[in-house]
Structures are given as structure tokens and as C-alpha cells.
């Protein structure tokens, strides 16, 4: 067995395989397929203070080697998360749970952080400032650096555990955004979120999604994610959770090599709900076979 323990600052994972917010439900949906207690960390679906009904369907379209979604952060609100979702994860002692908050305003995110501060089953908080599927908050935060700064530092004040900030690659300058995030108190950066994109329904000659824009994810965007991770990792020492189209052990290695410290699986959980566990085994095997350590998976020049 290779050593897979991974430290993302204060957040220690048994291995660097994570599942991405919105693609792994609340964990329990996957228990028929995987042993949750073997995964490094799962990231829960984004939560807001009040229940959110989400966007008008259709919410899903398939694209070449990818998919688009327009879920719109549907969730039952933070109290339901605390009462129903977190207790269901109590039994998994090795699994780290990352809660993801996506308030539409600075205030809402502060409130969420304050409430989750008290939850023992939350091992880290991910602040989602990059969702392209909502009218207020979400990706629009990323375009206003002073707001990003204020938002993160306020959330930082409320939450004492490891704070992850989730970035988008679809911003004017991701390095600048990362810099501001780090200065404001982000301890870990996760990237990338889905990419704003569009689809057309030929028969009706209308935009396929009611909101027009939806988020593109999956293997199609992997080369774009790799660049975003490289850009951030080559400028800052901050721990990075790499996300974007990971579908195989080769992809995991690419992400770790280019600068990610952990790798998060999104869309591929739908196509292969066992993938997280499989990738852990394959990473172990790769390191053993090639007599490498995780630390050696870095970019050579």
C-alpha cells in the first residue's frame, strides 16, 4: 500500500480523491455503489439558508464528452442539511465531509458559515462563488474582486475550520482572483466550477435551457481545468483541489502533476458511481508499480 494521506493545510484526507459538490448528492445516494468510508472527502451539494426550488426544467443536456446542467442550486435549506443529511454521515469515521455554501448574498453566506461552524460532522467549508446557474450571487461574485475579498474575509471570521473557496475559470483573470481569495483568508482553493455555455433546441428553435446559460462539465473541459490549476499553482503555494472532467487514473495523475493536491470527481460519478473508489485503488497501484510517492507527482521542467 502506497501512502495516500494528503494534507490540504489543516484538512487531512486519507487519500486525495474527493467528490465534487452537486455531483454526489449528500453521499447516501451512493452507498449502494461505493464504500463512503474509503473516500478522501465528499463535498455536499451547495446549501443555502432557505430551501431553494432551483431552475425550471429541462436541467440536463448531454454534449460531446460532457454535459450541461442548470440545476440552480436546488436544496432543502441548511436546517434540513443539519437535521437529515449530516446525521446520515455520522458512521463514516475515515471520510471527511466538506459542506458547500452558496448564499446569494454576503450576508447569507455569513449566516450559513456561522451555523455550520457548530456542526462537528462538517470537516471543512467550501464557499461556492462560481455557480453559473443562478441570477444572484454565484459566478457574478467572481467578477467583483472587492466583493470577493469582503465575502471571504467575513466568512473567514465566522468559520474557524478549513476554508475552501471554489473558483471558476471563466473569469477575467484567475490568478488575480486567486490572489484576492488567498489574501482574504481562503486556505484551500478548489477549481474549476462548470463553464458557462449554451445549447439550442433545433425543433423549437429556442434556447434549450430556460435561463439560456447552463454550466458545462465533464471530460470535454479537462484541458481548460488543467490550465486553470496550472495558472494558480504556479503562482501560489496554497493547497488546490483540482476539478474538471476527471474520468480515469491518467487524469488523476495529470491533475496531481500539474499542481493539484487533491482531485475531485464531478460528472463522472453519474456515469460510473463507483469511480471514486476505483481511482483510489488505481492511484495506489500506480504509485506502487512506479515506485513513486504522492509528493513526487510534480511537474518536471
Amino acid at each position: 500500500m502506497a501512502e495516500l494521506k494528503t494534507k490540504l493545510g489543516r484538512l487531512e484526507l486519507q487519500n486525495p480523491i474527493v467528490t465534487a459538490s452537486g455531483t454526489f448528492g449528500y453521499g447516501t445516494e451512493f452507498t449502494d455503489f461505493v464504500d463512503l468510508d474509503r473516500i478522501g472527502a465528499i463535498t455536499l451539494k451547495s446549501v443555502t439558508m432557505e430551501a431553494k426550488i432551483g431552475n425550471i426544467p429541462p436541467r440536463i443536456a448531454e454534449t460531446p464528452s460532457g454535459m450541461m446542467n442548470s440545476i440552480g442550486l436546488e436544496n432543502n435549506g441548511i436546517q434540513d442539511l443539519i437535521k437529515r443529511r449530516l446525521p446520515a454521515l455520522e458512521g463514516y469515521k475515515n471520510l471527511k465531509v466538506i459542506a458547500n455554501i452558496a448564499g446569494h448574498s454576503i450576508e447569507e453566506n455569513i449566516e450559513c458559515a456561522r451555523i455550520l461552524e457548530k456542526e462537528k460532522r462538517v470537516d471543512a467549508l467550501e464557499l461556492n462563488i462560481s455557480c453559473p446557474n443562478v441570477a444572484a450571487g454565484g459566478l457574478s461574485f467572481c467578477f467583483d474582486l472587492p466583493v470577493v475579498e469582503k465575502l471571504i474575509s467575513k466568512v473567514r471570521d465566522e468559520y474557524s475550520g478549513p476554508l475552501i473557496v471554489k473558483l471558476s475559470a471563466s473569469v477575467p483573470d484567475i490568478v488575480k482572483l486567486a490572489e484576492v481569495s488567498i489574501k482574504a483568508g481562503a486556505e484551500i482553493l478548489s477549481l474549476i466550477n462548470t463553464i458557462p455555455a449554451m445549447e439550442v433546441d433545433i425543433t423549437s428553435r429556442k434556447l434549450f435551457f430556460k435561463r439560456g446559460v447552463a454550466g458545462l462539465s465533464g471530460p470535454a473541459i479537462r484541458p481548460i481545468a488543467l490550465k486553470a490549476i496550472y495558472d494558480v499553482a504556479s503562482h501560489f503555494k496554497i493547497p488546490i483541489i483540482g476539478i474538471g472532467g476527471v474520468s480515469s487514473i491518467e487524469d488523476v495523475l495529470k491533475f496531481l502533476i500539474i499542481g493539484a493536491d487533491a482531485v475531485s470527481i464531478g460528472m463522472m460519478n453519474f456515469i460510473n458511481p463507483k469511480i471514486a473508489e476505483t481511482l483510489i485503488d488505481e492511484l495506489d497501484e500506480y504509485l506502487n508499480t512506479n515506485k513513486l510517492t504522492l509528493a513526487e507527482l510534480t511537474l518536471q521542467s
Binding site: 426550488i53 432551483g54 446542467n69 440545476i71 460519478n269 453519474f270 456515469i271
Partner: protein
């Protein structure tokens, strides 16, 4: 939500046969799913390709029939996924996830109308086989054109062909319910048809269950992609459905 364990099974193709225009029957060898599935539930099929780069979402299909170690899917060719499925041959391996979603109710001693529009017939065949013993059933398969007629070997399915006999549902269902003294309807098909049936049922004061479709990413409640609007807000077709009480929706 059904609590049966979902699994992913690697099945062999036992038979793949074209039954009508663009309509195929796929018979798979299956130990677990075939023994656990109930009428109305569906499975998610991985589109077979040697190329991992395709990365296609799984495709949902109702369970058309189950036998001992045997799972049947009846499907219509729509796009690239179902098109790829037509090249499946005996002995090929298929990844099947299931059983997924909820079943039609188990009713007894009733006069039941089972009505399928187009490929909506797929899950109803299984349903009929389970209900026939304890109920008096009328079963109708509505198709648009003659080339879609499936040559059912069972005599209980009446096929209604729109282009020959005129459009069936909207105009005739009310009369039909009265004339045949229908007590309960179980239906699957296009949304406008389901809606029309629901309205007829309400008018006649009888109950109806409908099986609905939505675009899905996961099939097991994780992505929140498959919602439909109900009287109680958005519900997930994959875990809250696909079978709904018509009165919960319209």
C-alpha cells in the same frame, strides 16, 4: 422511494430483435436486477462503446419484462445512444444499473385500463403480466402510424393506430371509461397524452397513475436534474417517480 438495493450488473445480450419501425427488443441475461425489479421501475444502460472518450450518460429504459435471469428492454431509436444499441449482438456485454425508481401500485379486483402511447407501452407489459391474475384489465397500445405496430404475440394488447383509426386519446377516453366501467388507469406515454388521461380520470372520479420521463444524469437521486413540476413542487422523476399519481401532477 424504493429501498431495494440498486446494483450495476454486467449482462450478456441474449437477444436483440427489431419488432417494428425503429423499435427493438433487447433481452439481457440478469440475475440480480431481474429478480428485484417491479413493474414501472427502470434501468440505466451504459451505451456500449470501446471508446472511453465518448463518456456518455447512461440511458434510462423501463423494465419491459422480467423472467428468471432475464431482463427485457423495449426501445425506440431516437438518437446516438439508442442508435448505438441497435448494433448490440448476442454475447455482447452491457452494463445495466437498476432497479431504479418507483413501481406502479399493486391493485386488486379492479377494472383497470392500462394504456401506453408509443414506447410508453414498454413498462406496461411487465405491469400487465403482474396484475392480470387479480384484475380485469383492458390494455391499449396507441401508435401514430401503422409501421409502428408491434406484432404482439399476446392477444390481450389492443393496438390503436392513429393514422388508420383516428387519434384515440383525447376524444375517446371519457366515453371509454364510462362504457367499460374503468376504476383505475395506469398509463405511460407522451406528456400531452398523460395530461389528457389525468383530466379524464379526474372528470370520471377515478384514480390514475402515470409514468413520466425527464432528462436524467444519474438516475438515482443525486443530480437533481430530472425534476418535474407537481402540485407539491418539483419532484425527481428518478426517485420520486417515474410513476406518479396523476392527481399529484395535474
Amino acid at each position: 422511494m424504493s429501498d431495494a438495493t440498486k446494483i450495476i450488473e454486467i449482462s450478456d445480450v441474449i437477444k436483440s430483435k427489431q419488432l417494428a419501425k425503429d423499435t427493438f427488443l433487447l433481452v439481457l441475461n440478469s440475475s440480480h436486477i431481474s429478480s428485484m425489479a417491479t413493474p414501472g421501475q427502470f434501468v440505466n444502460i451504459s451505451i456500449q462503446t470501446k471508446l472511453p472518450s465518448a463518456n456518455m450518460l447512461k440511458r434510462p429504459f423501463g423494465v419491459h419484462n422480467c423472467g428468471k435471469n432475464k431482463l427485457e428492454i423495449l426501445y425506440k431509436v431516437k438518437g446516438e445512444g439508442t442508435n448505438a444499441m441497435t448494433s448490440l449482438a448476442v454475447g455482447d456485454k452491457v452494463e445495466v444499473m437498476g432497479p431504479l425508481g418507483n413501481r406502479f401500485s399493486i391493485c386488486k379486483n379492479k377494472k383497470v385500463l392500462i394504456i401506453g402511447g408509443g414506447m410508453g407501452i414498454a413498462p406496461l407489459y411487465f405491469l400487465y403480466n403482474q396484475l392480470k391474475e387479480h384484475n380485469d384489465i383492458i390494455m391499449i397500445h396507441g401508435v401514430k402510424t401503422s409501421d409502428e405496430v408491434i406484432p404482439w404475440t399476446e392477444s390481450h394488447i389492443k393496438t390503436h393506430v392513429d393514422d388508420v383509426e383516428g387519434y384515440f386519446v383525447c376524444e375517446n377516453i371519457d366515453k371509454y371509461i364510462k362504457k367499460e366501467k374503468i376504476q383505475h388507469i395506469m398509463a405511460c406515454g407522451p406528456i400531452p397524452m398523460m395530461k389528457s388521461i389525468a383530466e379524464s380520470a379526474i372528470k370520471a372520479g377515478i384514480t390514475a397513475e402515470v409514468s413520466l420521463e425527464a432528462r436524467m444524469a444519474c438516475g438515482f437521486g443525486a443530480c437533481l436534474g430530472c425534476v418535474i413540476n407537481t402540485k407539491n413542487g418539483y419532484k425527481k422523476v428518478c426517485t420520486d417517480g417515474p410513476v406518479f399519481n396523476a392527481s399529484d401532477i395535474w
